[in-house]
């Protein structure tokens, strides 16, 4: 029964997104009375391998994991599966037929959703022409970063004629301030900065404020946080829209899937967790999002 099930939940970074995932996992495990072991692979493939092996030898029943890389994470997870452990992946997938269930918000989807807001904005406010810069995290997670950035650019391009003038990496807020600031200097006529994660988005907004370019440069981002919600509600008109994943849902659904599979129930092979578009144009939704977040912490 569920009471003596042990489930390992592995994240690969310590940030708000994964922290919320963990909260979701904890809630689901608690509800089912299962034991949850948590770990963080710190984006290091070798550490991930160690964790998976350790959990297997500890005899866990299931591993719920966001693999660092579709290719690099496969061998260890295959080993775990061969040892009889149920694998559920979330957020990022893995090559081969390893997981019983895979839950994610499509990374492209995230980029595209923000991109759609940007397309509308470009068409309505900028007269169909925009100069765009992007902040990604290519040196950290090239695949995910690529999906988010390209998804955005593809959709945003539908709003008119866009010119991508600079593509840089910056995923921590303080780095984002510096890099976005430099980009603004190099391209004073830029209209839009897109950042592919929370840190980058915060950094880009602050950089625009530093440069005094409120009303001239507009920021689009990814991820949801209290601070980003506040930016959307701020009347300085810098941050326009972000697309948040629903990490709490993702975490709890992933653990539930694992438990179901252990109980021999049917589980869906692929589950798409919807993304949440938050925009300056819909302040009520932003407020609601803030409220949800408060209840979590």
């Amino acid at each position: 029964s569920a009471e003596d099930r042990t489930i390992a939940g592995i994240v690969f970074q310590q940030d708000q997104f994964f922290r919320t995932i963990q909260l979701g996992m904890e809630a689901a495990a608690k509800a089912a009375g299962a034991e949850l072991l948590e770990a963080n692979s710190e984006s290091k493939p070798e550490k991930e391998v160690n964790l998976v092996d350790t959990f297997v030898s500890r005899g866990v029943d299931a591993i719920v994991i966001s693999p660092i890389s579709a290719t690099a994470s496969a061998p260890a997870l295959q080993r775990a599966k061969d040892a009889g452990v149920v694998i559920v992946t979330y957020n990022s997938g893995v090559d081969g037929d390893i997981p019983v269930s895979y839950l994610n918000s499509s990374q492209r989807d995230l980029g595209e959703t923000t991109g759609k807001s940007a397309a509308a904005f470009i068409k309505d406010q900028l007269g169909g022409k925009a100069k765009v810069a992007t902040l990604g995290f290519k040196a950290l997670l090239p695949e995910v970063s690529g999906d988010r950035v390209n998804g955005f650019l593809d959709e945003a391009g539908k709003g008119g004629d866009i010119d991508v003038v600079s593509q840089q990496d910056a995923w921590l807020a303080e780095k984002g301030v510096a890099v976005a600031g430099d980009i603004i200097t190099a391209n004073p006529d830029i209209n839009i900065i897109y950042a592919a994660n929370e840190g980058g988005t915060v950094g880009a907004v602050q950089a625009v404020r530093n440069a005094g370019k409120q009303g001239e440069i507009f920021v689009f981002g990814i991820d949801g946080s209290e601070q980003l919600a506040n930016f959307l509600l701020d009347d300085d008109n810098v941050l326009q829209a972000v697309t948040a994943q629903q990490p709490f849902e993702m975490g709890s659904m992933a653990v539930k899937a694992a438990l179901d599979a252990l109980d021999g129930k049917e589980v869906e092979k692929t589950v798409i967790v919807p993304v949440l578009s938050l925009s300056r144009t819909d302040p009520a939704a932003v407020e609601a999002f803030k409220e949800d977040l408060k209840n979590l912490q």
């Binding site: 003038v165 303080e174 301030v177 510096a178 430099d182 200097t185 915060v202 602050q206 440069a211 601070q227």
Partner: protein, 319 residues
């Protein structure tokens, strides 16, 4: 004339390297040579720069501090947490001030303790601060629970991103810290002792210098500067963030060494560190302006650090 150039080259190698880089970027990097960008660079180097001045003293005194990156994160989280807990009770200004004081006090204490642990138990500061590097990061996460804490009053964030007479406010802090540390190292007997302690601890001790006081003090000063930097960063990004400033220890040490300070202690200058900080700042800024791809940035940055130190050496030999 050539004599003059030769003298300039051999006496001020890093200054010359910096000037060459500056000229190159002025011509090649779009927007580099604008007032805005110059101010931007200044703002961006401020945070690491402030710490680098303290680190210079620590390294001259023959020690090292690897915990500064985590210290920055912890300080930001501490002030954010205190603001979050106490703003309602005592009002935002009081909460900010208390938060800042507590954040600084923690880092100073840790710095001084690091020195004392070295004194009492002969544990090298390399290892103590290496342990602190992970411990403080963990503590920052425990305080914030992993979420950015956006608890600051809005006026506080101007401290990080505001301007005063057209110059970003952190830049003033940077300049003041530079001036004060420069003064300390050059015009106080404490500063003299730092050199002596790093150059030959036993000789310094036998000359009646309290070497453990000196070492602990430099570590404590660096702690204070780390906390100040952490507070400024929290102000700049508007929240206390446990992931902030990761990996800074090596950046800061690189700036100090580029500035001509010897890792073996006893030798170095605050002015040199100032040059080193500017150098790294211009390199990073220039690469972004030139839209150098992320991967090449790693390579170029490493090559420039190595190149600067090498060049410095070659010019010193010519002297």
């Amino acid at each position: 004339m050539t004599g003059f150039i030769r003298t300039a080259f051999t006496r001020y190698p890093m200054e010359i390297i910096l000037a060459l880089l500056y000229i190159y970027l002025s011509f090649e990097a779009p927007g580099f040579f604008t007032v805005n960008n110059q101010l931007n660079v200044l703002r961006n180097i401020t945070m690491q720069g402030i710490i680098a001045f303290g680190m210079t003293m620590v390294i001259i005194s023959g020690e090292i501090d690897l915990s500064v990156g985590s210290g920055v994160a912890l300080a930001g989280c501490v002030i954010a947490w205190i603001c979050g807990e106490y703003t309602d009770a005592i009002g935002a200004p009081a909460a900010v001030i208390i938060g800042a004081v507590v954040a600084i006090a923690i880092q100073v204490t840790l710095g001084v303790l690091t020195g004392r642990v070295r004194q009492w138990f002969s544990v090298p500061t390399f290892i103590t601060t290496l342990a602190l590097l992970t411990m403080l990061r963990g503590a920052a996460n425990l305080i914030t629970g992993g979420f950015p804490l956006a608890t600051f009053p809005s006026w506080f964030t101007t401290l990080g991103s505001g301007f005063f007479y057209g110059v970003p406010i952190p830049v003033y802090v940077f300049v003041v810290v530079f001036a004060v540390t420069h003064f300390i190292m050059k015009f106080t007997s404490f500063g003299r002792s730092v050199y002596a302690v790093g150059g030959n601890p036993e000789a310094a001790r036998l000359s009646g210098i309290n070497i453990w006081f000196v070492k602990s003090a430099t570590l404590g000063i660096t702690g204070a500067l780390t906390a100040i930097s952490g507070i400024l960063i929290a102000a700049q990004i508007g929240s206390g963030n446990a992931t902030a400033a990761s990996g800074w220890e090596l950046d800061v040490i690189a700036a100090v060494i580029i500035g001509g300070t010897s890792l073996f202690g006893g030798k170095g200058r605050i002015w040199g560190t100032f040059i080193g900080v500017l150098f790294l700042g211009f390199v990073v800024n220039g690469m972004t302006l030139l839209n150098v791809s992320e991967y090449w940035q790693y390579v170029v940055r490493g090559a420039l650090i190595l190149g600067a130190v090498l060049f410095n050496y070659v010019l010193e030999k010519l002297r």
